[in-house]
Symmetry: C2
Subunit: 186 residues, 2 copies
């Protein structure tokens, strides 16, 4: 196993664990990554540094997936659909990315690259929703904030359904888009 591979595996494990339990001991992360705590500490001096790496990875992954979704079509309806698939694909990354940036104790500043990326994604999202509302594709009585909250809720539902194994993985995206699109009146 190469060094960067292990490092990446630890980050992925950390995102899974912290999404479930933000203050979980690093031992749990190490177990999830299938390494010892000693190895984890060789790559990350502490929780702060690990969290920073997670934040960076979540930003990179989510931003990339969302931008690709937006570039896949010029039609807002398709853009929204692909954004949902992107969120589902990112899974825990997307869930934690959102969770951390919408906490009351989160110190938001556009100077931080992660915050800027979050803002950017939210802004693009809002634009798509606004466009759909203008063309009457989204029920008018729903607010943009609710549509975004629902979007996140649907992603959380897929993450939970996937980890619980209660829903066939190849049906997840279909179910998610069906429920979300109908749920906002598209």
């Amino acid at each position: 196993m190469s060094a960067s591979q292990t490092q990446h595996r630890i980050i992925e494990a950390a995102i899974l664990v912290f999404n479930e339990d933000y203050s979980a001991p690093l031992e749990h992360v190490a177990e999830q990554a299938d390494v010892t705590r000693r190895t984890l500490h060789r790559y990350f001096t502490g929780r702060e540094e690990l969290l920073a790496s997670c934040a960076q990875e979540m930003r990179r992954s989510c931003q990339q997936a969302m931008l690709q979704a937006l570039n896949s079509s010029a039609e807002p309806r398709k853009q929204l659909e692909y954004m949902l698939y992107a969120g589902v694909d990112c899974g825990a990354k997307y869930a934690l990315f959102n969770k951390l940036h919408s906490r009351p104790e989160h110190h938001h500043t556009p100077l931080n690259a992660d915050c800027a990326a979050y803002d950017s994604v939210c802004s693009r999202f809002r634009n798509v929703i606004t466009q759909l509302q203008e063309q009457g594709a989204i029920s008018l009585h729903l607010t943009t904030a609710w549509v975004m909250a629902l979007f996140n809720g649907v992603v959380v539902a897929t993450v939970n359904a996937a980890t619980a194994g209660a829903v066939a993985p190849n049906s997840l995206k279909e179910f998610a888009w069906f429920s979300f699109s109908k749920g906002i009146g598209v």
Copy 2:
């Protein structure tokens, strides 16, 4: 402040905090409850005991609300609607109740009153969904597991929207039911 009042306030605070961060230090719970950690420890000898009290309160509250919802109507469609409102009203209690009982590390046993209550609620839920599917009110290609996952996702969405203050509280239930009911094809 009477003793039982304080005790209850601590439990409510703990449910809010643990729903956000399961391994949060008890200091955070004390802060949320607006008491000192010393006071918290007078009521609960430790984390385990506090968690047990939370589990009991979540069970009591969720079960009561769900049963009331089911008893409000004989029509499955109405029952489902009231169950969603019940979930939204319970908020973090419902969210954490679910979270804890659907964890892989959770040791499920029907002998435990909390587990039994969870099973009971799930079972009643499944019955309602099955009835609706039989009368063709729910899209046939959706599985029961997905409908339940979506239900939980919508409740999570309302909890987040409420704590973020992004959606007017008096619109939440209406939005939630609109999105959920359309989302499953009712």
